[in-house]
């Protein structure tokens, strides 16, 4: 990650963190305030509901009592007790109920038989016994209970009063639908009141405003909790198409018997305002954060432009140095730490340049010394037999003149052979010293490899040692090379490999490519090289063989270097050796410029 990016991130994080923290704190405070208001409003509405509930109950009690105590009802009860026909009373409840504005009214005989029902006239003759089975006294207050009607079970607030005659009590059960109580409430905006009706049989339902809009399945867990522990609350998200979240308080309402909850009061407090405020806070925060980030980007761009450029220049220069361009300089006009760093860098590169000069000088001297030593060594070998041979001639002339002709012929043959050897050494040295300049053209590397394999086919497969050539030629492109010189390189490598496998083995020819270079690899399964041998294998006159001049690989290296390529070797003792040749693809230049021949070889053993 670049300094610029780091700076940008740092500043952005700083701004975003600050804005976010502030926004969070504001939200939290707002949340607390809303909660407090919500609780107060809910409590107010619940109180209002209880008051309306009580008021409605009182009205119902008054209505039912006035009917129960009326002369006409008493007269009717007496007549019924005396055996009057029930038929004429079938519609009696309806007229009483209408007069007292009751939704429900049942006139019931002492045995529970319905004599008249205002809300379900057709139910005369059937029995209502639920109140007769009660153990204790009947409640004086109004109570909640579900009433069976032709349209189904309806939640009602009821009151029960007896109509006493001599010897028998008739009963009046009258009331009103509970949803009228709910309808009479006028909750403030954002509050919703409804009631969950829990009938004895069948499914529960919501009654009250918006009853059709609330999905019951979301309310049921809360309702059941309230029925168990009297009250509970929960935040509910109604989902798409409905008012958003609400905090719903559920309060169980008491019924006729203590073991059953007939209804649950649900007060929903809309979180709309709070959510709107939160959203607004978030939006503003985001806007501020966005603005801040924008400013941060600007600041960081400016800062990093000032700070990172000299550092980047330094980095580029260091990379140049790494690539061998030790003459690079970093310009810096600042006097701060970055300027000091640039100055130090420049000093370093100058030192490096000087040291490199000295090293090159030293290496040159060392190379001449090495060349002279090896030349001396090479020359010394044939010179010694020359000296012995001449001494033999002198001795033979002096000691055995009769064998002098024979010795003279043998010695002259030896002299001629050694002189030829000397001439070979000098020729090779001369060849090495004056390598021709390569004539570059586009060369098909695979084709060249196939040609070399074909050339050595007989040598590889015949003879005592059988060497198995294997071609793994990839998509090697055309390379910029001198075909003659390059072929010599490959041939040299093949010869070396053959020499490395006296018992036979496998010789693998491999070509491949990357973006800029074509690769040629020759891998053998010979005895391998030691790391020291890998270090020195490209040194002229270095050889581990009994024969040879030791210049083959040095010439190969020189040719590859002239081709702006690179040759290296990897090997493991007794596991074989692989020579790697990289050549630039025709049309590209070498990645490494100014690479010296002496350091062009990379070896990995």
């Amino acid at each position: 990650m670049s300094l610029k990016t780091k700076l940008l991130l740092l500043i952005t994080l700083a701004i975003a963190g600050t804005v976010g923290t502030v926004a969070f704190l504001i939200e939290e405070r707002a949340h607390e305030a809303f909660r407090k208001i919500e609780q107060e409003r809910t409590a107010t509405l619940v109180d209002q509901f209880h008051r309306e509930f009580q008021h409605e109950g009182d009205e119902i009690i008054r209505g039912v009592e006035s009917i129960a105590n009326s002369d006409s009802m008493l007269r009717s009860a007496i007549e019924l007790t005396n055996g009057a026909d029930v038929g004429p009373y079938m519609n009696a409840a309806q007229s009483y109920a209408q007069a007292r504005q009751l939704d429900f009214l049942d006139l019931i005989a002492p045995d529970g038989t319905i004599i008249s029902s205002a809300h379900w006239p057709a139910r005369f003759g059937y029995k209502e016994r639920w109140f007769l089975d009660r153990a204790g006294p009947q409640p004086r207050e109004a109570f909640l209970r579900h009433v069976d009607t032709a349209q189904g079970s309806v939640l009602a607030m009821l009151c029960l009063r007896p109509v006493k005659t001599h010897g028998a009590d008739y009963y009046l059960i009258g009331g009103r639908k509970l949803d009228s109580v709910v309808q009479s409430l006028t909750p403030p905006a954002g509050l919703r009141v409804s009631i969950y009706s829990n009938p004895e049989q069948g499914q529960g339902e919501i009654i009250g405003p918006a009853k059709d809009n609330l999905p019951l399945e979301k309310l049921m867990p809360l309702v059941q909790l309230a029925m168990q522990q009297h009250d509970a609350s929960k935040t509910i998200d109604w989902g798409p198409g409905l008012p958003q979240e609400e905090i719903v308080h559920a309060i169980a309402l008491p019924g006729y018997s203590a073991d059953r909850v007939p209804a649950v009061l649900l007060v929903g407090n809309s979180l709309q305002q709070e959510l709107t405020l939160e959203k607004r806070i978030r939006d503003i925060s985001l806007m501020i954060a966005g603005l801040g980030i924008f400013i941060a980007v600007l600041i960081s761009a400016i800062l990093t432009a000032r700070m990172s450029r000299p550092i980047r220049d330094l980095a580029d220069a260091a990379a140049e140095v790494g690539h061998g361009n030790w003459g690079v300089r970093v310009e810096s006009s600042s006097k701060d730490e970055v300027g000091q760093l640039a100055k130090a860098f420049n000093q370093m590169t100058e030192e490096l340049m000087a040291q490199r000069e000295r090293l090159v000088q030293t290496e040159r001297v060392a190379a001449w010394r090495e060349l002279a030593r090896r030349l001396a060594h090479e020359l010394k070998n044939p010179l010694f037999p020359l000296q012995i041979t001449v001494e033999n001639l002198l001795r033979a002339r002096e000691n055995t003149p009769e064998q002098f002709d024979e010795v003279f012929h043998e010695s002259t043959a030896t002299l001629l052979a050694e002189i030829a050897n000397l001439k070979n050494i000098v020729g090779r040295f001369s060849d090495f010293s004056k390598m021709p300049a390569p004539q570059f053209q586009s060369v098909d590397l695979n084709e060249m490899v196939r040609g070399v394999v074909q050339l050595f086919q007989g040598q590889l497969t015949q003879g005592a040692r059988k060497i198995d050539p294997e071609l793994q030629l990839g998509q090697a492109p055309l390379v910029k090379a001198d075909p003659v010189l390059l072929r010599r390189v490959i041939e040299n490598l093949v010869l070396n490999a053959i020499d490395a496998m006296p018992e036979g083995g496998k010789l693998t020819f491999r070509t491949s490519k990357d973006d800029k270079f074509a690769m040629f690899e020759l891998a053998d399964t010979g005895k391998g090289l030691t790391p020291e041998e890998c270090e020195r294998i490209f040194t002229p006159y270095y050889t581990s063989k009994q024969h040879g001049t030791g210049l083959g690989l040095a010439i190969a290296q020189s040719v590859v270097s002239d081709h702006q390529g690179r040759i290296s070797v990897t090997s493991r003792k007794n596991h074989g050796t692989t020579f790697h040749v990289e050549l630039p693809i025709a049309g590209t230049t070498s990645l490494i410029e100014g690479e010296k021949k002496s350091k062009a070889a990379a070896s990995a053993c």
């Binding site: 026909d85 029930v86 038929g87 004429p88 003759g125 032709a150």
Partner: protein, 482 residues
């Protein structure tokens, strides 16, 4: 001595005479207007067509139109437009000789007119005019009760003009007709049976006597038909109420037949016969009669009432809830049972109560019945397109001849045509067998026989009602005329 005794007895008798009526007479008086309140509305005067309240319409049909024959309150058949008749081929061919009579437009009633009218209603009859005064009717089967049958208002002789105006030959003609609202009939001076006594009769349709009572406008009316719920309050005020025998049949009729097409909305599946039988067993007819009908009727187990045939008791009608539950459970194991949609006349509060009570009783047996009000329940053709499985009908008994009454009732229920099998019955036992067959599959479930009640003002006389409660207003007259 004798004179004092005479005087004391005379005084008592005179008081008795005075108590009966302030101004009284036993001979009918001509003139005046009779005003009658009807609580049902009918929209057509055509006795041959369908209507939402055909029974109400048929009440007045006899005032506008003549039939070939007429039955008196004793059930005896008398000549009307036909002065005489005879039959041949074992009652398969009938000849009716027409009297000289005119339509209300002055044209003479001829045999071709009768042929045109009868052909419109009859099915399978070959009706032709032998001459201008003789009509020949050839029937597919012998109908010994043909004269009784032709007395029904559905066989009224109606002349239709090219613009579909109806013209009758009855004792009254139409002066004013506002469909569903008001009908004013004026006396036909040239009626063959003599001009009727009142100058006019006015019918107010869809009117309630209770409303008139509340508005203290009762005095201007002569009569009003009453529903059961109005009876008690009027009786308590010592009004003059005429209550007929329990005749009209409150009946549940299932519209879709089990097999062959015909009846009910096409595509609607019939209710399973076991469910129908279960419903029949579940209905508490005694409770309906005692409470809803306030004992102004009788629980019905047959189509024809006991007082008419004497054999209704042979049909079982007592509630058997256990049997109903068994049948319902048996059906539930074999088919999917849907709620039964039951349509009732929404303008009849008694029908509504009865339908709701049936739903309550059915619920005890596990059967779901959903009653709903419908304005066209009594309209036979409208029932074919109704979204209902069953209808609660009020079917009048139109004749005291059991065979004719059964045939007419089955026709009204959509279960047969007027030339159906009951008319071929010559013995009461045969009528019983045919009625048994009609009830066997429980597509027809009788509920109650209901009395017809009418309030009569003291100034109206000769208000005739047959045993079935059918009004005969032919001899009606009112005080105040001259």
């Amino acid at each position: 001595m004798r004179l004092s005794r005479l005087r004391s007895i005379a005084a008592a008798s005179l008081l008795l005479a005075l108590a009966t009526a302030a101004v009284a007479s036993s001979r009918p008086r001509y003139g005046g207007t009779v005003r009658i309140l009807l609580h049902e509305r009918f929209n057509s005067l055509d006795p041959l067509g369908d209507d939402d309240h055909p029974a109400a319409r048929d009440r007045i049909a006899g005032l506008l139109f003549d039939t070939l024959t007429a039955t008196d309150t004793q059930g005896n058949v008398h000549p009307r437009l036909a002065s005489s008749w005879r039959s041949e081929s074992g009652d398969r061919i009938w000849y009716f000789n027409l009297r000289l009579a005119n339509f209300q437009d002055g044209t003479v009633v001829t045999a071709p007119d009768v042929v045109a009218s009868l052909t419109r209603k009859s099915q399978g009859w070959q009706v032709r005019a032998v001459d201008q005064q003789t009509v020949r009717i050839e029937l597919p089967v012998p109908l010994p009760h043909m004269p009784d049958l032709l007395a029904l208002s559905r066989f009224s002789i109606v002349k239709r003009t090219s613009d579909n105006t109806l013209i009758g030959s009855g004792p009254y003609k139409v002066s004013e007709w506002q469909a569903g609202e008001r009908l004013v009939l004026s006396a036909n001076d040239d009626y063959w049976g003599g001009r009727p006594y009142p100058d006019s009769i006015e019918f107010q349709l869809g009117a309630s006597l209770r409303d008139q009572l509340l508005q203290r406008q009762l005095g201007q009316y002569s009569a009003a038909d009453l529903t059961v719920d109005q009876l008690r309050s009027l009786e308590e005020t010592k009004q003059n109420i005429e209550l007929s025998r329990a005749s009209d049949l409150l009946v549940l009729v299932f519209l879709q037949p089990d097999a062959a097409p015909g009846g009910g909305k096409p595509g609607r599946t019939p209710v399973d016969p076991r469910v129908r039988e279960a419903l029949a067993e579940a209905i508490n007819r005694a409770a309906i009669n005692n409470v809803i009908l306030q004992k102004r009727g009788t629980p019905a187990s047959g189509i024809l009432p006991q007082w008419l045939t004497g054999y209704e008791f042979l049909f079982p009608g007592a509630m058997n809830l256990e049997r109903a539950k068994e049948l319902h459970a048996e059906a539930a194991g074999l088919v999917i049972i849907k709620p039964i949609a039951l349509a009732y006349d929404f303008s009849d509060p008694v029908a509504k109560l009865v339908a709701e009570r049936i739903a309550v009783d059915a619920r005890e047996a596990g059967i779901v019945v959903q009653p709903f009000g419908e304005p066209h329940v009594a309209n036979k053709s409208a029932r074919n397109g109704m979204n209902a499985d069953a209808v609660l009908l009020r079917v009048p008994v139109e004749s005291v001849q059991p065979a004719v009454a059964l045939a007419a009732a089955l026709d009204d229920m959509g279960m047969g045509d007027p030339t159906s099998a009951p008319l071929t019955a010559t013995r009461l036992e045969d009528v019983f067998e045919l009625e048994s067959r009609a009830l066997a599959d429980f597509r027809v479930i009788p509920v109650a026989h209901v009395s017809e009640a009418v309030w009569l003002n003291s100034n109206v006389h000769n208000w005739l009602e047959g045993p079935t409660g059918r009004w005969s207003l032919d001899q009606l007259w009112t005080e105040g005329g001259r």
